[in-house]
Amino acid sequence: MGTKTDKELDSREILQLVTFRLGNEEYSLDILSVQEIIRHMELTRVPKAPEFVDGVINLRGRVIPVLDLRKRFGLSADENTEETRIIVVDINDKTVGFKVDAVSEVLRLPADTVEPPPSIVTDVDSEYIRGVGKIDGRLIILLDVTKILNSNELADITPEASAVA
């Protein structure tokens, strides 16, 4: 299931991506890592969890954490709107929700149109970016889900959480 490595990006395959909006930029996740997309629902806050963890939700009997991707990437927080969605991703048996401003579409993108992450173009730390895709003049940032979940930054904030994870 996991995301493809950079080497695979070079090949002539077609990437299927779920694209979404955070602020003014378009981001995307590999469709294989996405389990489902749900409307924003009532959250239960978890005290002492990392700041970017919005809380936990009840997903059909399972309790899963929801990460605010805005906070995760250090963007300014924003009010929830009608458009706000939670993208539920499932990677290495970890199910986590990502809160995003809006989900746009499923996109097919030839892998060779994706370029390596430029260093200053986006608001998001290039560590979490697999590349930038171009289609019809739009720039779409491909995110690396595994890195978002496993980065060292998380370890700094909650030593226990990452020690177990």
Partner: protein, 632 residues
């Protein structure tokens, strides 16, 4: 061997499983036999089990097992023909042999190719065989003086057992013992003939009968009943991986939530659309669904339940061995072994009970001489009991030994530096009993084989905490002591007290809640940087839930009147200030998932009836952080 390797492996595995089960039963029967030495039915049972093990082992080529089993069988044979009388030393030898066979089987299971030193065991057995079997072989059957009436009834009741046995044997024979198959077939056709061998002997001796026939009828009837009971107790089971049951359990949880939503919707509909006849139909359907879901939930919970006998069964043998080692006379009474408990709880219960029973044997029950001098019966009694009290299972270990001397406990704790002498003097007896659970604590003057290292009770406490059990100790010097566990019926569903702080709702496991009450802010005193409260004659450290869980945006309501929940784990307790108490709820504890696992202060989460998630507080975590506060 002409079997392909895979088949062979399977046959050996079957043998191991059956032999281990047989041996487990044997332990039980041996101990029972020691109490009723003349019980020939029991002896026959034991003999047969040993014989089965020997036969199967021989067939599979495990010669070591055969040699040990063979000699034990010789002894058992003599015992059952009453050529030898049962003595404790014979029993020791036979038990040692059955243990040895157990070890050998385990070795086969582990594939470790280990060779056990079984010669000494055989030597002891042979000594017993020669020492005990003084009566010449010619006298065979001469002592079997039993009335004919008994013999007849017995042969009837025997048949039943034999049929059962042979059926089992037949199955086993078909499965593996091909060459033996023929012989077993014969047995099936004429079960009575083979088994009636001793009966024939008996009838020959009818004239010599000393006992009146009438007297023996009753026990025989009992035996018959027992035999029938045995037949009906044949377990019809399949093995299912617990994770599968847990998966079903989870799905049912979801079903319950959907049902709850349906019920809410149904009520709404019936108020909004009174005229529509379909609404009534739907409500009927929902009521049906409600019943079915509840039943389903209960049935799945029952799947995880097992009788506590599973743990209790190993203790008669253990007590017997310990008593003989320490030269004491002890009788073990077991009560309520049919009580059912969740599998996980049962698994955690074994070790604590072993330690408690060892303690009772070693420190509790006195030697026969001391007991007589104190005017007590020579033989001490240890009672192991289990019963259900509402939503709890109460398991207790009690003895009629010398009891716990509270002063000795205090003195020992003080001398080991576990507490100050002043504290020790002020401490009540009840509190002092709880000191025995401290790690490293022991009043034993010397470390014996059985206990005295001060580890056991700590294990008891840790295991109990793991399964939300509560321990209490009762004792009276010279009369005895009793240690009581209160355990939850199941771990899958726990009760929580829901409380509110900073507009958020949290759950506190009810097993840790001691009491709750209203408090005024003025009752809380500040001492050395921390807050404390005095309730009756006890002082509790105080934590405020709202500040424990707060972030900047949520602050506690400013009101004078709050509630305090006194929570405790083991010997430590503290007061938790909350804004409001909501109530008691039954919940299914869920993990927070890999990502948030280990978040401070949170033990898990649960989903309430209306689909919301509430967090369950980790009480022992609070207590640890409190200890940290004092340490700084």
């Amino acid at each position: 061997m002409s079997f392909p390797m895979d088949d062979m492996e399977e046959i050996i595995n079957d043998f191991i499983a059956e032999a281990q089960e047989d041996l487990e039963n044997l332990d039980q029967k041996f101990v029972q036999l020691e109490k009723t030495p003349g019980d020939t039915a029991l002896l026959n049972d034991i003999f047969r089990a040993m014989h089965t093990i020997k036969g199967a082992a021989g067939f599979l080529g495990f010669e070591d097992i055969v040699s040990v089993a063979h000699v034990s069988e010789d002894i058992l044979n003599k015992l059952r023909k009453e050529e030898m009388a049962m003595t404790p030393s014979i029993m020791d030898a036979v038990l040692a042999a059955s243990d040895m066979i157990g070890v050998m089987i385990q070795n086969i299971k582990d594939h470790n190719e280990k060779k056990e030193e079984f010669e000494p065991v055989i030597k002891v057995l042979k000594e017993q065989l020669e020492g005990g079997g003084k009566q010449p072989k010619a006298k065979k059957g001469a002592k079997a003086a039993k009335p004919a009436k008994e013999a007849k009834t017995k042969s009837a009741s025997k048949t039943k057992i034999v049929e059962k046995e042979t059926l089992k044997d037949k199955k086993a024979a078909e499965k593996k013992v091909k060459p033996k198959g023929k012989k077993k077939e014969v047995q099936v056709e004429e079960p009575v003939v083979e088994e009636s061998e001793p009966v024939c002997e008996v009838t020959e001796q009818v004239t010599e009968t000393a006992e009146p026939a009438a007297e023996t009828v009753e026990p025989v009837v009992e035996k018959q009943a027992a035999a029938q009971q045995e037949v009906s107790h044949v377990e019809q089971t399949i093995r299912v991986d617990t994770s599968r049951i847990d998966a079903v359990m989870n799905m049912i949880g979801e079903l319950v939530l959907s049902r709850n939503r349906m019920m809410v919707l149904g009520t709404k509909l019936s108020t909004e659309q009174v005229e529509n006849p379909l609404v009534g139909n739907m409500n009927d359907a929902i009521a049906q669904l409600d019943l079915a879901t509840t039943d389903l939930q209960l049935s799945v919970m029952k799947m995880r339940m097992q009788p506590i006998a599973k743990v209790f069964n190993k203790f008669p043998r253990m007590v017997r061995d310990l008593a003989r080692q320490s030269g004491k006379e002890i009788e073990l009474v077991i009560e309520g072994q049919e009580t059912e408990l969740d599998k996980t709880v049962i698994e955690e219960l074994g070790d604590p009970l072993v330690h408690l029973i060892r303690n009772s044997v070693d420190h509790g029950v006195e030697s026969p001489e001391v007991r007589e001098a104190a005017g007590k019966p020579r033989s001490g009694t240890i009672t192991l009991s289990a019963s259900q009290e509402g939503r709890h299972i109460v398991v207790s270990v009690s003895d009629d030994g010398k009891g716990i001397d509270a002063n000795a406990v205090k003195a020992s704790a003080a001398s080991k530096g576990l507490m100050s002498i002043d504290d020790a003097i002020r401490m009540s007896d009840k509190e002092a009993y709880n000191l025995i659970f401290l790690p490293g604590f022991s009043t034993a003057k010397e470390v014996s084989n059985i206990s005295g290292r001060g580890v056991g009770m700590d294990v008891v406490k840790t295991n109990m905490a793991k399964i939300n059990g509560v321990i209490s100790v009762e004792s009276e010097v010279g009369v005895g002591s009793k240690i009581i566990f209160r355990l939850p019926l199941t771990l899958a569903i726990i009760q929580v007290l829901t409380v509110e702080a900073g507009k958020e709702i949290y759950g506190i496991p009810l097993t840790t809640v001691i009491e709750n009450r209203r408090v005024e802010d003025s009752e809380i005193k500040s001492v050395e940087g921390g807050e404390v409260i005095q309730i009756r004659d006890k002082v509790y450290p105080v934590l405020r839930l709202s500040s424990l869980v707060s972030t900047l945006e949520t602050s506690s309501e400013e009101s004078d009147c709050k509630y305090i929940v006194i929570i405790g784990v083991g010997e430590q307790s503290l007061g938790l200030i909350v804004d409001r108490l909501h109530g008691q709820e039954e919940i299914v504890m869920k993990s927070m998932g890999e990502y948030l696992k280990g978040t401070e202060g949170v033990a898990g989460a649960c989903i309430t009836g209306d689909g919301r998630v509430i967090l369950i507080l980790d009480v022992s975590g609070f207590i640890d952080s409190l200890n940290g506060r004092y340490a700084h």
